[in-house]
Symmetry: C2
Subunit: 255 residues, 2 copies
């Protein structure tokens, strides 16, 4: 039973891309078949796992516009994760899709052809609540919210929850919130713990465990075109994502 | 002679908002009159300096659509910086402006009425290269690129440079790149220094000094609704931004 999971947060730089790459790699290590979809025109996920977006023939943009079958656009990565990559063309998607009827469903429709071949499909969203992110939320069974646990990321949660509720009401009744994943977590300060506790209470959200601590090892991984699970195999960051993956695979979202 | 400076980088979470708030506060401390403009529908800058976007009557969105005069929308902050604030309505601006002729010039036109009352106007961009960021680049005399000096932020520079060149060619011949500001700088690792040296060489960009080091003091400031120059007056982060402001005020961009 394939689980499609959107990794979303409109705040910039909260480790959405790092979470998709690392969780994807961990799930593959644990024996699952994983597809990741890069929904950011900046194509950071595509680049992080060793592909040059400018060298790609097809991308998720072609798939969303119905020009190419998804199966033809999916490529492999050295980490063993399949990827539906992005290129800068995707920046045009917002405009192209803006006036199309049923524009929220194009990703869901495209994934129907290929999802069955995977145990997990992870969707990497850009820092916005535009049509591509709405597509991710409409296509997904569950959503995980990576959060930096600082004041400015706290502020975005309300708006993201409103958007998720809109999608649940209008496009995807079955969408469940799997929970918040604390990222770049600084357990020394009180601020991070306070923000996390407040979000949990205020929005009734689950918190995935363990939190991902700040670590300089993460910055090295994209430079090598591999996930941190390969560039820093036994680091705390890699181990934390492995544990999150185990918990994720065991428990589906309840609400 | 008013200097209008866009703070732009489509990569998320590289301290654009923190830079506008901190530089703005430093320039005010140093005796300049400063206006900051929040061009992000997430309104983090507005919130960081003590305003609740949901309580505001007018915002930059009304100004861009020509409904309200800029002078009526500008409000003050405890840091002494004037702000043209944002609200979530701004998310609609991309769509509203998409089909309008001369849509790249609406901010420039709006600022013409008020810029003369200030020495500096700083424009806080969202993590995208959409119509609002194009407006900022079209309205600006100079652009500063805050950069996290990690692989993924390095990757975005090419695309940003292409966009700046397009704007220079088509909408704003006089736009100059003031330079890159290294933010959240980890001087202990070789990666940050290597990325910075590479960007400097590859794109011929100036690097503003000093770099802004990583510091936990920055996360506290938005929680208090004040800039870090007030919440951590003599911290290294506050001092670094003061120095950048002094250098900025002395030297205009050369190219
Ligand atoms: N646990 C961590 N510790 C330290 N650095 C991290 C950690 N997780 C991610 N990073 C680094 O932080 C930066 C931002 O991460 P990332 O690009 O994954 O965020 P994002 O939410 O996808 O950003 P965007 O909003 O631009 O898509 C990257 O350079 C990444 O390598
Ligand atoms: N020098 C620093 N050291 C540590 N934390 C910092 C520093 N500068 C900014 N931060 C924190 O990093 C986070 C991201 O900063 P900020 O919101 O200013 O980035 P941004 O580029 O404006 O993000 P976005 O792309 O979402 O607009 C904030 O929580 C901020 O407080
Ligand atoms: Mg990303
Ligand atoms: Mg910002």
């Amino acid at each position: 039973m394939t689980r499609i999971i959107a990794i979303a947060n409109q705040k910039g730089g909260v480790a959405k891309t790092t979470t998709v790459a690392s969780l994807g790699a961990a799930l593959v290590e644990q024996g699952h078949r994983v597809l990741i979809v890069d929904l950011d025109p900046q194509a950071c996920l595509t680049f992080s796992l060793g592909h040059d977006p400018e060298e790609l023939e097809f991308s998720v943009h072609d798939v969303l516009l119905g020009r190419v079958a998804p199966g033809l656009s999916i490529i492999t990565t050295e980490d063993g994760i399949d990827i539906l990559p992005s290129t800068i063309d995707l920046a045009g998607a917002e405009a192209h899709l803006l006036t199309r009827t049923g524009r929220e469903y194009v990703l869901r429709t495209a994934l129907e052809d290929v999802a069955a071949g995977y145990d997990f499909v992870l969707l990497d969203c850009s820092p916005s609540l535009g049509v591509l992110t709405i597509n991710a939320l409409t296509a997904a069974d569950e959503v995980i919210i990576p959060m930096q646990c600082e004041t400015l990321s706290h502020r975005g949660v309300r708006q993201l929850m409103d958007t998720i509720e809109d999608v649940q009401r209008l496009c995807n009744r079955d969408l469940k919130i799997r929970g918040v994943l604390p990222t770049m977590f600084d357990s020394r300060t009180n601020l991070a713990k306070a923000v996390l506790a407040d979000v949990k209470e205020r929005y009734g959200l689950e918190v995935l465990e363990p939190p991902i601590a700040k670590s300089v090892r993460f910055a090295e991984a994209p430079a090598a075109g591999r996930s941190v699970l390969k560039t820093a195999k036994s680091s705390r960051g890699a181990e934390a994502y492995r544990e999150v993956a185990i918990n994720l695979a065991e428990i589906e979202a309840k609400n």
